[in-house]
């Protein structure tokens, strides 16, 4: 079993968004995840970005659809035609 190729802080930072978005291949993920425990600054940066992303997502999803709209859409889905 061999260790993954090391990755620089700069290269890791350039891949931060792709990493958080789950858009990297397994080898690159392994290189980043080998780097983070050895680099406190990168680990802090990645954690902070992950927390901010989660917070922004939660805030943007904090929306309630108006009941009247929901009823109109349910009527559309029942009949396939405009109820109004």
């Amino acid at each position: 079993m061999t260790s993954p190729d090391p990755i620089s802080c700069e290269a890791a930072h350039a891949l931060l968004d792709d990493y958080l978005d789950g858009e990297l291949d397994a080898d690159t993920i392994e290189r980043i995840e080998s780097h983070l425990p050895q680099c406190e600054a990168c680990a802090r940066e990645f954690l902070a970005e992950a927390r901010l992303l989660a917070e922004v997502r939660a805030r943007l999803r904090d929306v309630t659809m108006p009941e009247a709209l929901l009823q109109r859409l349910e009527a559309i889905l029942t009949r396939g035609t405009n109820p109004s």
Binding site: S8, C9, E10, A12, H13, D17, D18, D21, G22, E23, C39, A41, C42, R44, E45, L47, A48, E49, R51, L52, L53, E55, V56, R57, R59, L60, R61, D62, V63, T64, M65, P66, L69, L70, R72, L73, E74, I76, L77, T78, R79, G80, T81, N82
Partner: protein
């Protein structure tokens, strides 16, 4: 005679629409709450979001016969919603605030190439964010960034699915998401500074 034929055709159309609605309902209904959130952030207006989501549902029911069931339903529906937005709401759209897109955001590296952030802007923001601030920050982005970020952040579509919805290359999606998120963070930091939360935006960067 013609009246009778028209009536029969009308009845056939209604039955067809009802059948399509019945078939699409279990796929579409679970999407509606978040689809409303997407419509709201695209239109930035509750009344327009209502109209857009209703129109998208009609179009999806009418076009459901063209949906390939081996494909994922979510990007198929969101492409309809996005196209309806551009077709019907283009004239009503407000443009985002112009920004300087090349504003640097990368942390500094020391002579050994180690990451040495002078502060932790993301961490300073978390905990002080309000829904209103996040919405205001997203709404202020230029359209191409706002659309990509809305689909990604609210609906959690993959880069490939966002590319399908927006009909752009996946590399363009990546670029818009990365730059859009950096801009979003800048705006959030500026809004937080206005509220006395965290640090103000650094000099030379666009708030």
């Amino acid at each position: 005679m013609d009246v009778a034929v028209d009536e029969m055709e009308g009845q056939a159309c209604r039955e067809s629409a009802t059948a399509e609605a019945t078939a699409i309902e279990p796929l579409l209904r679970p999407l509606l709450p978040q689809a409303y959130g997407v419509a709201l952030r695209l239109t930035r207006n509750p009344a327009d979001a209502d109209d857009l989501l209703q129109e998208a549902c009609f179009l999806a029911i009418r076009g459901f016969g063209t949906f390939e069931h081996s494909a994922s339903f979510r990007p198929w529906f969101y492409r309809i919603l996005h196209n309806a937005f551009h077709t019907s709401f283009r004239k009503r759209r407000r443009e985002g605030v112009p920004v300087e897109l090349d504003a640097p955001m990368a942390p500094t590296l020391d002579t050994d190439g180690k990451l040495t952030p002078t502060r932790d802007p993301a961490d300073a923001l978390v905990g002080g964010l309000t829904t209103a601030a996040v919405v205001a920050a997203l709404d202020s982005l230029p359209d191409e960034f706002r659309e990509a970020c809305t689909l990604y952040l609210i609906e959690d579509l993959s880069y490939e699915e966002v590319a399908h919805v927006l009909d752009i290359p996946i590399g363009t999606v990546r670029s818009r998401l990365h730059r859009g998120r950096k801009l979003l963070q800048q705006r959030l930091r500026a809004l937080a500074a206005d509220e006395g939360i965290g640090d103000p935006p650094p000099a030379g960067r666009t708030p």
